[in-house]
């Protein structure tokens, strides 16, 4: 009797409080913003942005102590893991979140939108991302994904008086829910086969012989498809341009960078811990996703006249580059590690340069009042600093040395070439051709900003707010520093997922 009683009673699992301290601090910051809003109402408005920023920075403190401590921590029977990989990507997420807060500061206030709720939701979404970095279990991955996505649906529709924004919000919501459903179905299939939701258990059972191939394949395809929605890879990208265009621009930056990065982190955990043994299934899948994303993203970007849509399509192409190493990641552990480092490196650098580009777009559209490419003509004559910054970010995205993007692309090509198989070379060739195509629209945009005439002849200077200046400095410094001394980023992104997983 007593035995049965103890079995039924809830036992609190052992919790490593230090290990989840970052999540707790983030939670506290979010709760604090909500409380302040309830108590002080409108009086709190000017301070919420600062509070959110401080909350994100405060979260970095336990992250640092964890990094100094350096031990890998495993919680909840392996469902939640704090290792080098998760710490690095958590740090990226926090910094990205901080930059997005900086970008939002004046935008949200001047647009007279709800502020306190906005930052509360933003923190919740960042929290989902931070959890995603540690999740090694289908259920915790899914919970983290929803925690990240649901606030994002709301934020996309933040400009509620604007039809485009509302449309974008609805579109994003419907597409996102559809993707979640597909993914959940895939997860249920894998759970049915392996009898566990833990990624490491799934990994073990998939590598064991005798599992039903068709079901496993379907499961993997569905889950990868679900995350392909999240990272906006072709052919699951159709939501991105409309949503990016309709959403408030800081939210677009958030979606284009942070939430995409979170999707990648989940994809990496799934591939390297869960599906690694089934490389014959996911490698071709990644190959197709990478090749089509690069090619279609770039070709469509060539035709865009709206800058935010152009950034959306260029982001799709960049996604293709980030997926590419995964197409050859299944050839042994060292190869897998290299591919993982390449993707993480790309994510870090991409975060900095893309957020920087959006910061310039936000700053310039305060004057131009439009995101049409033509309205940015001649920006060099009235905003030379912003134009130079934009040039740096654009050419970094294009992969021109000595700007950060070159090292990211270089690492991708290196992984594709080291794999030593024909398909890797073909994908590298596709990537090389795409780099040149991408350069065309990046260079055209830069040239337009430098050399065209100002469309309305208004040469008054653009005011750059302190928060935007901070964001630009952060992103610019990172972009330049990682380009000149790639060793800086390489040291942090030299991570492995095999130690605790496979």
């Amino acid at each position: 009797m007593t035995d049965a009683f103890f079995l039924l009673a809830f036992q609190r699992p052992a919790i490593d409080w230090h290990g989840i301290a970052p999540e707790l601090v983030l939670l506290a910051a979010g709760a604090l913003i909500t409380l302040v809003d309830i108590i002080f109402l409108e009086k709190a408005r000017p301070y919420t942005a600062a509070l959110a920023g401080l909350g994100l920075l405060a979260t970095a403190v336990p992250l640092l102590t964890l990094a100094v401590d350096g031990t890998d921590r495993v919680m909840f029977d392996g469902a939640y893991v704090i290792d080098e990989f998760s710490l690095v990507v958590k740090a990226v997420f926090l910094l990205a979140g901080y930059v997005v807060v900086l970008l939002s500061t004046n935008y949200v206030a001047e647009g007279d939108y709800w502020e306190n709720e906005y930052y509360g939701l933003l923190l919740a979404s960042v929290m989902g991302m931070v959890m995603m970095a540690s999740a090694r279990d289908l259920v915790s991955l899914f919970v983290a994904l929803e925690l990240l996505s649901i606030p994002a649906y709301l934020m996309v529709a933040w400009r509620k008086r604007d039809l485009h924004s509302t449309e974008a919000g609805l579109k994003y919501y419907l597409m996102g829910v559809f993707a979640s459903a597909v993914m959940l179905y895939g997860m249920s299939l894998l759970y049915g086969v392996s009898g566990s939701t833990l990624l490491s258990d799934i990994g073990t059972s998939l590598s064991a012989a005798g599992t039903s191939n068709a079901v496993v394949t379907m499961g993997i395809v569905f889950i990868v498809a679900g995350f392909a929605f999240k990272v906006s890879a072709v052919p699951f990208h159709t939501w991105a341009p409309d949503v990016y265009e309709g959403a408030p621009t800081p939210v677009t930056a958030f979606l284009a960078v942070a939430s995409k990065a979170a999707g990648f982190v989940a994809l990496l955990a799934l591939v390297f811990v869960g599906f690694y043994a089934r490389s014959e299934v996911w490698e071709p899948l990644m190959w197709i996703l990478a090749a089509t994303s690069m090619t279609i993203g770039n070709l469509v970007a060539l035709r865009q006249t709206n800058l935010v849509r152009l950034m959306a399509y260029s982001g799709i192409a960049q996604t293709g580059f980030m997926i590419a190493p995964l197409a050859v990641a299944g050839h042994g552990l060292s190869n897998g590690d290299q591919a993982l480092s390449a993707v993480v490196t790309y994510l870090v650098i991409y975060t900095a340069m893309n957020l920087g580009a959006f910061a310039v777009i936000i700053a310039l559209s305060r004057k131009t009042g439009s995101a049409e490419v033509s309205s940015f003509g001649g920006a060099f004559s009235y905003a030379p600093g912003l134009t130079v910054a934009m040039t740096i970010f654009l050419f970094s995205l294009a992969g021109i040395p000595p700007l950060g993007g070159w090292f990211a692309k270089f690492e991708v090509f290196r992984v594709l070439a080291t794999a030593g198989e024909p398909w890797g070379y073909v994908l590298a060739a596709v990537g090389a051709v795409n780099s040149v195509i991408a350069l065309y629209y990046y260079a055209s945009l830069a040239r337009r900003m430098w050399a065209d005439n100002v469309p309305d002849g208004d040469h008054s200077p653009v005011p750059v707010t302190p928060s935007l200046a901070t964001a630009l400095t952060l992103c610019g410094t990172v972009t330049l520093a990682f380009g000149v001394a790639p060793q800086l980023v390489a040291r942090f992104t030299d991570v492995s997922l095999f130690a605790l997983g496979g």
């Binding site: 040395p401 000595p402 090509f413 050399a451 001394a485 390489a490």
Partner: protein, 557 residues
């Protein structure tokens, strides 16, 4: 001082312009005089460091890399910050350091529209870093990075300060060059992986290839990739179409730097990387490089005859002149490559000077239509004489620098390296010699139409047409003096470059098999590509063949 230069000299010279540019970024745009001054001081400082390096340079050992620095840079890909100067790079580095301050002086009071000296001068300084960096880099990744650094400032210089068609020209320049460098990067990576040498250093890779790490087919492909990459930059014949557009549309100073230094990055890549690392493949490719070179000579010359615009004509003459340089390189001989380096320096000085003159003419006449010009010697006699002088130098008049670029290149084709088909190159030699006649034709015709005769009516009483100004004199005098000095005493360049060129060529290319026995030839371990036959084995071949071999050997001595 010596130690300081040894460890820091190159780094200082390479990155000082960036420091100057950074300081200028902090100064508001309105203070134009400060910008000009800082830019000039920076570039003069770099030139000063260059002179110190030249003084310390050990001329007895030009084959050694001097002032070398080798530090860890990107450990994950085994790439190092490895720089050094030897006899091949020294002339080109000094050329760069000379041209940049002269360009700044020249543009002092006439910045092209939209004026903005701050941005213009910052771009020039960034360019200088890229150019010097490319010439000193001894690591392929570092080389690639600097090679690309050059690209952006030039793109903006053409796109912002260029002529009417600047948009088209700048993008064309950018995409062509980038396509070339993408292929170049792929070749570098292929070398890295196929040799398995775990290094990107030029010397290390060349040893790894010599040790037989890479199959012959792969070598041919890799060389092909580099050939395209460097060939576009040179530019060689079918890839040259970006050049006339870029030159015509670029502002004067942009054209000068493009002609004087940027084109040399391509030829320098050939002699620094492609040939020393992949000599076997170079032998196979040599006839094709030579073919494109002579086609370039003739095509460039014929193109010149058809031009109606002075700048476009000079641009096409660049295609022809770089053809001579490439012909010298394609012979793969010590003599030919020395001629090529001389050709690069001479072309840099002379064509740079011609573009300066074209820019000054454009400023006075507001047109470069050859039909509308005339009588320069009447209206601006000093400038007219300088123009005449440069035209003579460009067509290869003995006693001026241009001669030492063209003549030895043609001569070297008589006697190419081992394994390179002699008959083919002798044919090229004849064609190239005809090219010099065409060059004299189009250049003298240009001089006749623009400088001789009476000024056309529309410009007859134009007060804007003045003679050479003070700034122009300061900017031009050093170049003119050097054209004469090198013309009279070409050893200024040859004695610097010779040792390094000799050391960069593999023994198999240069050895005279006739002097050796079969055993000694075998001991060299050269591949079949070189067609080496020792003195003993030589008798087994037919007589006709033997005659030619003898001649070959005799000329080689």
């Amino acid at each position: 001082m010596e130690n300081l230069l040894d460890g820091w000299g190159i780094t200082l010279a390479t990155f000082s312009p960036l420091v100057g540019a950074a300081i200028m970024m902090l100064i508001p745009r309105e203070r134009e005089d400060q910008h000009k001054l800082i830019a000039l001081i920076t570039s003069l400082w770099v030139a000063f460091v260059g002179v110190l390096l030249l003084i310390q340079f050990d001329l007895a050992h030009t084959d050694r890399l001097q002032f070398g620095v080798d530090k860890v840079w990107i450990d994950v890909i085994s790439s190092r910050f490895s720089v050094g100067i030897d006899g091949m790079s020294l002339p080109l580095i000094l050329l760069t350091m000379l041209i940049v301050p002269l360009c700044i002086i020249y543009s002092w009071n006439h910045f092209p529209d939209p004026v903005n000296p701050k941005a213009f001068l910052i771009l020039i300084l960034i360019l200088e870093t890229g150019m010097i960096g490319t010439f000193v880099a001894q690591d392929l990744v570092l080389f690639f990075v600097f090679f690309e650094v050059v690209l952006l400032p030039m793109f903006f210089m053409i796109a912002v300060w260029g002529g009417e068609d600047r948009r088209y020209a700048s993008l064309k320049f950018f995409l062509y060059t980038l396509f070339g460098s993408a292929l170049m990067l792929v070749s570098f990576l292929a070398l890295f992986f196929l040799t398995g040498a775990e290094t990107f250093s030029i010397a290390g890779l060349s040893q790894a290839v010599a040790a037989g790490g890479v199959s012959r087919t792969a070598q041919l492909w890799i060389f092909g990739g580099m050939f395209l990459g460097f060939g576009i930059k040179v530019p060689m014949f079918p890839f040259h179409t970006w050049l006339p557009d870029a030159h015509t549309q670029a502002p004067t100073v942009g054209s000068v730097i493009l002609a004087a230094v940027l084109l040399k990055l391509g030829t320098y890549g050939f002699i620094r990387i492609a040939i020393p690392v992949l000599p076997d493949a170079a032998v196979t490719w040599a006839p094709w490089i030579g073919l494109l070179a002579v086609v370039g000579i003739i095509y460039g010359a014929l193109g010149c005859l058809a031009q109606t615009d002075v700048k476009r004509l000079i641009a096409f003459s660049s295609v022809a002149h770089m053809g001579f340089v490439m012909l010298g390189i394609a012979t793969l001989t010590d003599f030919g490559i020395n001629a090529a380096i001389m050709g690069m320096v001479a072309h840099g000085l002379i064509t740079g000077m011609l573009f300066f003159l074209a820019g000054s003419m454009k400023e006075r006449y507001h047109t470069l239509e050859i039909n509308r010009l005339g009588g320069l010697l009447v209206q601006a006699p000093r400038m007219g004489w300088i123009f005449g002088f440069c035209v003579m130098a460009s067509l290869g008049l003995p006693g001026l620098a241009g001669f030492w670029g063209e003549f030895p290149a043609i001569l070297s084709a008589y006697n190419p390296a081992n394994g390179v088909p002699i008959e083919t190159f002798r044919t090229y030699m004849v064609v190239a010699a005809l090219g010099t006649v065409l060059a004299a034709g189009y250049l003298l015709w240009l001089l006749q139409r623009t400088a001789f005769g009476n000024p056309p009516e529309e410009f007859a009483d134009d007060p804007a047409i003045t003679d050479t100004t003070k700034h122009e004199w300061i900017a031009w005098a050093p170049i003119l003096a050097l054209i004469v000095a090198i013309g009279i005493y070409p050893n200024l360049v040859f004695r610097v470059s010779d040792g390094a060129v000799d050391a960069s060529l593999s023994k198999c290319l240069t050895v005279d098999a006739q002097q050796l026995t079969d055993e000694e030839v075998e001991a060299l371990g050269c591949s079949d590509a070189y067609l080496l036959v020792g003195a003993a084995g030589h008798d087994n071949h037919g007589d006709g063949h033997a005659d030619e071999e003898d001649e070959h050997a005799a000329a080689g001595n």
